[in-house]
């Protein structure tokens, strides 16, 4: 065990993966000698050579195109997109290529070795283009897995599992927590399961569901609610696609109430899918409408960042509304 922040945990996971498997290769803008603008890839080039950790030219569509080809050849590319906001030039390569590669070839070829890492989310005064949470865009794309860790321990275990998973994985890192979240992380190799939610806190009155950096928001709101005597169950979804509906269904059958929180804008955010599914599966168990506490339907604003965020007070108020429905 060692104390690590989220960046260190990711760096450690990459070292672990590259040590165990020669075909793991890490690349992207500035990830080489410099170690990436957040330093998630520090020292990898030194340790593993320029062939396995390198800078690419500044082209996200190229990075993912290249990574797709490399993965189809049998390697395990771990491609970094410098900010989640800059993943959109690669959208075609991801949605039309990565996600459909195996299916279109009848399983003859695949890019299962591919992992795309990218920091996402706001709360760092990043404005429009250093704050977006793009998970829902990819959740509508069959063939991908989408994974988001909430802390250093989860980050290492989920990233190792993602790299080794036989499917392409988009791994979104909550950059607000990069240095803020510190935890004990095993130095040895371990994996956490993809597609499985994690029960963060048991409770009986309402289920609070989220992922990534919003889990700590849910925890804060749950504490506020506890003062009112409300017992919240908190679930970290961890995998957005495929997602663990069963875990959510079981919890909602117990609590009768569901609140989903994400930073991305409300309309068409992934909370909508969860709400749509759960209202169907738990129709007779729901004691109040499923509530979504999400970002506004605007581009991410800089000056009004605090107001924009689905924070703990907004969550707490929504919990109360749900309970008093």
């Amino acid at each position: 065990m060692a104390k690590m922040n989220l960046l260190q945990a990711i760096n450690n996971a990459l070292i672990t993966a590259m040590t165990a498997e020669e075909k793991v290769m890490v690349f992207g803008e500035d990830v080489g000698h410099f170690g990436g603008v957040f330093r998630a890839t520090s020292h990898l080039q030194e340790k593993f050579g320029k062939g396995r950790c390198f800078n690419t030219p500044l082209t996200e569509q190229g990075i993912i195109g290249f990574a797709n080809g490399l993965a189809s050849q049998g390697a395990y590319p771990v491609a970094e997109i410098q900010f989640g906001d800059y993943i959109f030039p690669a959208f075609d390569q991801i949605v039309n290529e990565t996600a459909k590669w195996r299916y279109r070839s009848g399983g003859q070829f695949d890019v299962g070795g591919l992992t795309i890492r990218t920091p996402y989310g706001g709360g760092i005064s990043g404005g429009h283009y250093h704050s977006q949470s793009p998970e829902a865009f990819f959740a509508h794309c069959a063939g991908l897995k989408v994974v988001i860790p909430r802390d250093p321990y989860q980050a290492k275990g989920l990233l190792l599992a993602s790299i080794r998973d036989k499917n392409p994985v988009l791994f979104l890192e909550p950059k607000r927590l990069y240095r803020a979240s510190i935890a004990d992380v095993p130095e040895e190799d371990y994996e956490l399961p993809l597609g499985k939610a994690d029960l963060v806190q048991e409770g009986t009155d309402i289920t609070l569901l989220g992922w990534g950096a919003q889990i700590e928001i849910l925890q804060k709101a749950a504490e506020m609610a506890l003062d009112d005597g409300v017992s919240c169950e908190i679930i970290d979804l961890r995998s957005i696609l495929p997602w663990d509906a069963e875990a959510v269904i079981n919890s909602v059958m117990k609590t009768g109430r569901l609140l989903i929180n994400h930073e991305a804008p409300l309309t068409g955010g992934f909370a909508s899918e969860i709400a749509a599914t759960i209202q169907e599966k738990c129709f007779l168990y729901l004691e109040a409408p499923i509530t979504r506490v999400c970002g506004l339907d605007t581009p991410y604003p800089l000056a009004h960042e605090t107001e924009y965020m689905p924070d703990e007070t907004k969550t707490y108020e929504a919990i109360k509304r749900s309970l008093h429905y």
């Binding site: 797709n68 080809g69 490399l70 050849q73 036989k166």
Partner: protein, 395 residues
């Protein structure tokens, strides 16, 4: 840290020099004249009779396949086809210069390369009829071939995407220490996509052993190349990327062969990309959905008909004394029959069972797709007539 100097090789001038055409001429390699006779000064590649005949026969085979399948589409037997008429040399003779270990990532008009690798008529048919004998499981439109055993990556429709992919594939081959390269085919239209820029530049910077093979056939559907770019073809771009470049007469099979052989040699020896621009002409309609009379003249087409690569090759073979008219006729007749016969068989082979609809989305079928399959099967059982192709096999 060593000092860098990105101005190291640049000279200065004191006058405002506007570089209009800053390229040296990029000439087009031609070994055979359009009539099939050798250019006097031409140095021909080493090419034995067997291989020469294989190139010729494959081109002829593809011509026949194309004709038949266009007809089959007109008869409503397949939904779509895309012929390579007039461009056979570009695909076939380039594939002939490769090793079978080399990966082919193609656009869609390179059926000649696939046939050269040994893809059988049955395989062509099964893909086009989307039947269950096709390893691609009938999931894509006709002509989206793919065959792992032949190192031919399954084709996808979005244009240009295979270009950076080919760079990545080649990088993987290099890292694995394989004595193999990747060839990436694309049209001059596809070369306008951002992926072209990204892929060629990355290959140059990351030293990927890949041949970028552009078929410049003058058109992207209805768009003529003068509305596609304003520079000197695609070859002129390679130079801007610092990529070695060869322009070749795409209707001259020997020139295409020689150019590709040299490109492959360089790619492997120097671990670098090479760009080939093959100048040719799309004599066919873009696809069976297209009618070129709306955008070009018959007269223009005729000029290119006169440059037919197959006749050119046949003439050269004849000069060489390697061509037996009668034998060739027999082969042609046989091929016609084979295609027809295979077509008849293939169209009766059923499509995959309904389970396949959810396979291969992931390596294994996740819960939600399992659920969707279960409902779908129940529904098909309830409405068997609505789903005649699958209801018979639903258990």
């Amino acid at each position: 840290m060593e000092d860098r100097n990105h101005l190291g090789k640049i000279k200065t001038t004191n006058r405002v020099e506007v570089i209009g055409n800053g390229l040296i001429d990029i000439p087009m390699l031609q070994l055979l004249k359009p009539d099939g006779s050798e250019h006097e000064s031409a140095q021909l590649p080493e090419l034995d009779k067997t291989l020469a005949l294989k190139i010729h026969d494959t081109m002829e085979y593809i011509r026949i396949l194309d004709e038949r399948m266009v007809a089959a589409q007109r008869q409503g037997r397949i939904s779509f086809y895309l012929a390579s008429t007039g461009e056979e040399a570009a695909a076939v003779a380039s594939a002939a210069a490769l090793s079978p270990n080399d990966m082919i990532m193609s656009q869609y008009r390179e059926q000649g390369a696939l046939a050269f690798r040994g893809y059988t008529t049955d395989q062509f048919m099964n893909q086009m009829f989307s039947n269950k004998a096709d390893p691609n499981k009938g999931r894509q439109m006709p002509i989206h071939y793919g065959d792992k055993a032949l190192n031919f990556m399954t084709i996808s429709s979005p244009l240009g995407t295979q270009i950076p992919q080919a760079s990545g594939y080649a990088y993987g081959q290099k890292m694995a220490g394989n004595e193999a390269i990747t060839i990436c085919y694309f049209g001059e239209g596809a070369a306008s996509e951002g992926d072209f820029h990204a892929g060629v530049n990355m290959a140059a910077v990351l030293n990927c052993p890949v041949i970028f093979f552009c078929r410049n056939n003058g058109y992207a559907i209805s768009t003529p190349s003068e509305e596609q770019f304003a520079g000197d073809g695609i070859a002129s771009r390679g130079i801007g990327y610092g990529v070695k470049t060869i322009r070749v007469d795409g209707n001259d099979p020997l020139a295409v062969f020689a150019a590709t052989q040299e490109a492959r040699r360089i790619a492997l020896a120097e671990m670098c990309p090479v760009l080939i621009e093959a100048m040719t002409y799309r004599l066919a309609a873009h696809s069976t959905s297209d009618d070129p009379t709306g955008y070009r003249s018959r007269d223009e087409e005729d000029k290119w008909r006169a440059k037919d690569p197959i006749a050119r090759m046949a003439n050269w073979l004849t000069h060489k004394g390697w061509f037996d008219e009668k034998q060739n006729k027999a082969k042609v007749d046989q091929a016609r029959q084979d295609v027809l016969a295979a077509l008849k068989v293939s169209e009766t082979i059923p499509i995959c069972g309904i389970e396949e609809i959810v396979e291969d989305v992931y390596d294994s079928v996740p819960w939600h797709l399992q659920d969707q399959l279960t409902s779908l099967k129940a529904h098909i059982k309830q409405y068997p007539k609505k789903y005649p192709k699958t209801s018979g096999s639903v258990r």
